[in-house]
């Protein structure tokens, strides 16, 4: 449950990053430009926020309501930090988790 929640959070943040213009440029540098169109990016943002929300129930299932919400915030921090580092050095590996 912990891993599921963390994976969803990471996936969600990756989608949000791919929905932002600058990061979309980095991630899909070698892909056709349709991967970076505003419509696709907006969809990714939406999907990203949805995934973040979907990560909350598994965390609560694993830890109970109060601790689960705290753990979810912790996962948000952990996943976003990891993502920021990946975006700085190896943005393209994110293509594998994003379609």
């Amino acid at each position: 449950m912990n891993l599921l929640s963390l994976a969803l959070v990471f996936w969600g943040f990756a989608a949000i990053a791919a929905g932002m213009e600058r990061h979309a440029r980095d991630i899909f540098a070698a892909s056709p430009s349709s991967m970076r169109s505003p419509r696709v990016r907006r969809l990714r943002l939406l999907a990203g926020y949805l995934l973040l929300a979907l990560a909350l129930p598994p965390a609560i299932a694993a830890h109970g309501l109060s601790i689960g919400v705290s753990v979810w915030f912790g996962f948000l921090a952990l996943a976003s930090t990891a993502l920021a580092l990946i975006l700085s050095w190896r943005p393209r590996i994110l293509r594998r988790v994003l379609r």
Binding site: S66, S70, V71, A77, L87
Partner: protein, 646 residues
């Protein structure tokens, strides 16, 4: 620099506020953050610092040597009102025994004075210095005579002192009282709360679980005697009351620093223009830009943690810093206030002694039954009231706190101590809204969780916060080094900040590593060794200040980072070389807490060494190279390295 009273737009004035509130107390806040972050693992640190305990074997709860433990309790405390057995768990593999002491007239004269049970009560006559000693180990206070009885008692004192903080719910409970106002204990002694109403319990002073203590190997039942050390408690106490001064003063200083932190956080959010646009942005290798990115990222990405930890820190100091509300509502009666703030467990009926002896029921069976009832959640402690009597009652408490909102209340089961029959157990109380919020802030700050995942997340966020403060301090230096790089010499203020940065960031890392080395290099039977471990910490830290003044900045950074990195990375080796359980052994035997310490030391050491390497290789950009200060940019590497270490 602009003057304070000049009219400016909001963001600019907030920027001024952020810069200066962050800088003035940043060095102290860094130390508070680092030692506080390590305190999430203070049980693990304490265990590492007592290699004598590393022999403890990991066993399933049904195979614990309960018979040996009970035999020992019957020998040591036949007349006790209550025995408590703390079961081994993920955060401490040993078995702890403690008991509510018999009435004082049965004890040897002088014993009461030395008993850690009176640790708070001793404050009045022994003064502040002596009271800090209570955490460094009772052995450092007074050494009883060399006769057999004295030495025996002293040994026990050492064990008690060393293992006072236990990972169980009970251990946490005694820890909770640590941050409460000092006068509370005096009040507690003057009118003990309901739970400790019995004549025997009054002997214990304010706390319920501060009696004598023994540590056993759970498999063999053999007694283990750890060396005298403050363990992780030194770093823990340092993070909220510093050291070497009156504790109230220390708490006020940290409290004021915490307020500055809060101001810096709020103003920082206002100053940050592109909080969402730059959410994931980190551009390495670009000098000041990178430092600012790093500062922003480490702040923004764990912002909920920073806000909560700072705010709850203030709330923990609340009755000290804003006493008016509780003074007027409770007439200064801290105990009444505390009772109101907590959702209390309903009182169970206290059994009355029958006077008839009867053997105790099988504890392993009760533990198994409790675990089954709780869906596999482990048992934290077993309290046996009226041991040996026909009316004995056994209460099993769950390990750790299952919820943030219900204070220190833990699910418990009560059994008849002779027949093993299940007795009615009061249900957990429903906390009120204020109680729930207070409890959540309290428990979140302290990371009291039953499972490791939330604690690790807090730890990692704490590392992020330490990086936030360190990078913020460096941004100040880096930005100004650029502006003044034309000057022949940096202004003295910049030099001061530089020195303080080096010694309070790299130097603190050196001091912490030296503290752990001292733990192993000072002989286990050295007088006042627990004090010397702490002195080693401060001596090393002082040396790094002198070093930072004496050396050129770049050399000072490199040497201190390398020194800290080397010392940290070698900790697993010195652990193995001085009687501790080596890394392969701790992994093989499933002692995750020990392996975790060694692996973290390795990772942090590697990170610091990497940082030293990057700073050493760093060449200032060409346009600055010609002029003065070579440490214009001690380097993004520090951050990267530390992140890697995390």
């Amino acid at each position: 620099m602009t003057t304070f009273d000049q009219a400016r737009p909001l963001r600019q004035s907030m920027s001024w506020l952020h810069t200066w509130s962050g800088l003035t107390l940043g060095w102290l806040l860094f130390a508070v953050y680092v030692t506080g972050t390590l305190s999430y693992f203070r049980n693990e640190i304490t265990f590492w610092m007592q290699p004598e305990l590393h022999r403890a074997q990991v066993v399933a709860p049904e195979r614990i040597a309960y018979d040996r433990a009970l035999a020992l309790l019957a020998r040591e405390a036949p007349d006790a009102q209550q025995w408590t057995i703390t079961l081994p768990g993920a955060r401490n593999p040993t078995l702890g025994l403690s008991w509510q002491s018999p009435p004082a007239e049965n004890r040897q004269p002088g014993a009461a004075r030395e008993r850690p049970a009176n640790r708070e009560g001793a404050r009045g006559e022994e003064g502040a210095r002596e009271n800090r000693g209570r955490d460094r180990g009772a052995a450092t206070r007074e050494r009883p005579g060399a006769d057999g009885e004295g030495a025996r008692r002293e040994n026990r004192e050492r064990v008690q002192a060393a293992t006072r903080e236990r990972p169980s719910a009970d251990g946490e409970e005694s820890a909770i009282d640590d941050v409460e106002p000092l006068e509370a204990t005096r009040q507690a002694e003057a009118n003990p709360p309901q739970r400790q109403a019995g004549p025997q319990r009054q002997q214990q002073g304010g706390g319920g679980h501060r009696g004598p203590r023994l540590v056993l190997d759970p498999a063999s039942g053999e007694t283990l005697e750890g060396r005298a050390t403050a363990g992780g408690n030194f770093l823990y106490r340092f993070h909220f009351e510093l050291y070497g001064m009156d504790r109230i003063w220390g708490r006020w200083i940290v409290g004021i620093a915490t307020m500055f932190m809060f101001v810096a956080l709020v103003s920082g959010v206002i100053v940050h223009r592109r909080i969402f646009k730059d959410f994931f942005t980190f551009r390495p290798g670009k000098g000041k830009r990178s430092w600012l990115d790093g500062h922003n990222a480490s702040s923004v990405l764990s912002l909920p943690f920073h806000l909560i930890i700072t705010f709850s820190g203030l709330v923990l100091f609340g009755h000290m810093m804003m006493p008016t509300a509780f003074q007027s509502a409770y007439q200064g009666n801290f105990l009444a206030y505390r009772e109101a703030m907590r959702a209390r467990m309903p009182q169970s009926e206290t059994p009355r002694p029958s006077g008839e002896r009867a053997p105790l029921t099988d504890l392993a069976a009760l533990v198994a039954a409790a675990q089954q009832t709780w869906g596999g959640k482990p048992v934290g402690s077993i309290a046996i009231t009226l041991p040996g009597d026909r009316n004995a009652v056994v209460e099993l408490r769950q390990m750790g706190f299952p919820s943030l909102t219900n204070g220190r209340n833990v699910p418990a089961l009560r059994f008849n101590g002779v027949t093993g029959e299940r007795l009615a157990t009061p249900a957990l109380p429903e906390p009120g809204a204020v109680q729930a919020i207070g409890s959540a802030l309290n428990l979140l700050h302290r990371g009291f969780f039953a499972t490791p995942v939330p604690r690790w997340l807090l730890f990692l966020s704490g590392v992020g916060g330490s990086l936030m403060i360190a990078s913020g301090l460096l941004v100040w230096s880096v930005a100004r080094a650029r502006k003044t790089s034309g000057a022949a010499r940096a202004p003295w203020g910049h030099r001061l900040v530089e020195v303080l940065n080096i010694a309070s960031i790299a130097g603190l890392m050196v001091a912490i590593a030296v503290h752990f080395w001292a733990n192993r290099l000072i002989p286990a039977d050295w007088p006042a060794r627990a004090d010397w471990e702490i002195r080693a910490f401060f001596i090393a830290w002082a040396v790094t200040f002198v070093h930072a003044i004496a050396r050129r900045p770049k050399a000072a950074w490199v040497e201190q980072l390398a020194c800290a990195g080397g010392l940290s990375a070698l900790l697993p080796l010195i652990n193995a070389a001085t009687g501790g359980l080596a890394l392969p052994g701790s992994i093989g035997r499933g002692l995750g807490l020990l392996a975790g310490f060694d692996l973290c030391a390795l990772a942090i050491g590697a990170g610091l060494l990497f940082a030293a390497y990057k700073v050493r290789r760093h060449a200032p950009p060409a346009r600055f190279a010609a002029s003065g200060d070579p440490a214009t940019e001690p380097g993004a590497p520090l951050r990267e390295a530390a992140e890697e270490a995390a």
